[in-house]
């Protein structure tokens, strides 16, 4: 959690616009595909879910795990990526 990936830095640097869900930190091809199948095809849709879960870490992690099977690290990366984006732009 202390060191953030390049993907994370790129994402939180600017408004997400129409970026794909795979632009999110922690979400690669496999997880991205699963999310798209469930209807979460854009990053902002996942953002919407993040917000509806009140930006709660525990709930979001659990939802991500249930929806696409993300492991603990992937959950954490995606959560902190979205949280930091919200801190800057929401």
């Amino acid at each position: 959690m202390s060191s953030t990936s390049q993907k994370h830095k790129d994402f939180v640097a600017e408004p997400m616009g129409e970026k794909s869900v795979m632009a999110l930190a922690g979400i690669g091809e496999v997880l991205g595909k699963r999310l798209e199948e469930k209807g979460f095809d854009k990053a902002y849709v996942v953002l919407g879910q993040f917000l509806v879960l009140r930006k709660d870490e525990e709930l979001f992690r659990e939802w991500l795990k249930d929806t696409c099977g993300a492991n603990t690290k992937q959950q954490g990366d995606c959560y902190s990526c979205l949280r930091e984006w919200c801190d800057s732009f929401l």
């Binding site: 879910q49 509806v52 879960l53 009140r54 709660d56 525990e58 709930l59 659990e62 939802w63 249930d66």
Partner: protein
């Protein structure tokens, strides 16, 4: 347990509050997550109940142990406290535990009466059968009588005057 999926979003929300589950709005995309959390909470709340009953019975066992010591010294009071205990809601199992603890208790707190170890469970309402109590009383009074008889020269007669 009613099907969670047939409940309205509002009902799910109320149930989440009942179980103290932190949550956001119950909408289509969050519904599945919250239903899962509710199922876990319901299953969890059902499981510990038999265990907590067991701990209660353990306490019951300890409590009956303590209660039993005192009434051993006072004859009739013990019967009253026992009937009070039996009147409690948890009828069957405490009786079992009680007889076990009383069995143990009798062997510990009344070492002078080894005969009581054999027959506490046979008696219907009493721990120590009445005939045994009378027998002990007769024996003790006979012993005291013998002591008094042998004391004649020193004189209970003298004491009376």
């Amino acid at each position: 347990m009613a099907m969670l999926s047939s409940k309205s979003n509002e009902d799910i929300r109320l149930m989440l509050d009942d179980y103290g589950i932190k949550h956001g709005p119950v909408v289509d995309s969050t519904r599945a997550l919250y239903e899962k959390k509710l199922r876990e909470a319901i299953a969890k709340s059902k499981k510990p109940q038999p265990q907590s009953d067991r701990t209660y019975y353990r306490e019951e066992e300890d409590v009956t142990y303590i209660h039993h010591r005192r009434p051993q010294q006072y004859g009739d009071v013990s019967d009253r406290t026992w009937t009070d205990y039996r009147a409690m809601d948890y009828v069957d199992e405490p009786v079992v535990y009680r007889t076990q603890s009383s069995y143990r208790n009798i062997s510990r707190s009344t070492p002078a009466e080894p005969q009581t170890q054999k027959t506490p469970e046979n008696s219907s309402t009493r721990l120590v059968p009445i005939w045994l109590q009378i027998l002990v009383f007769v024996i003790v009074s006979a012993l005291l009588y013998l002591v008094f008889i042998n004391m004649e020269p020193a004189g209970p007669v003298k004491r009376l005057t």
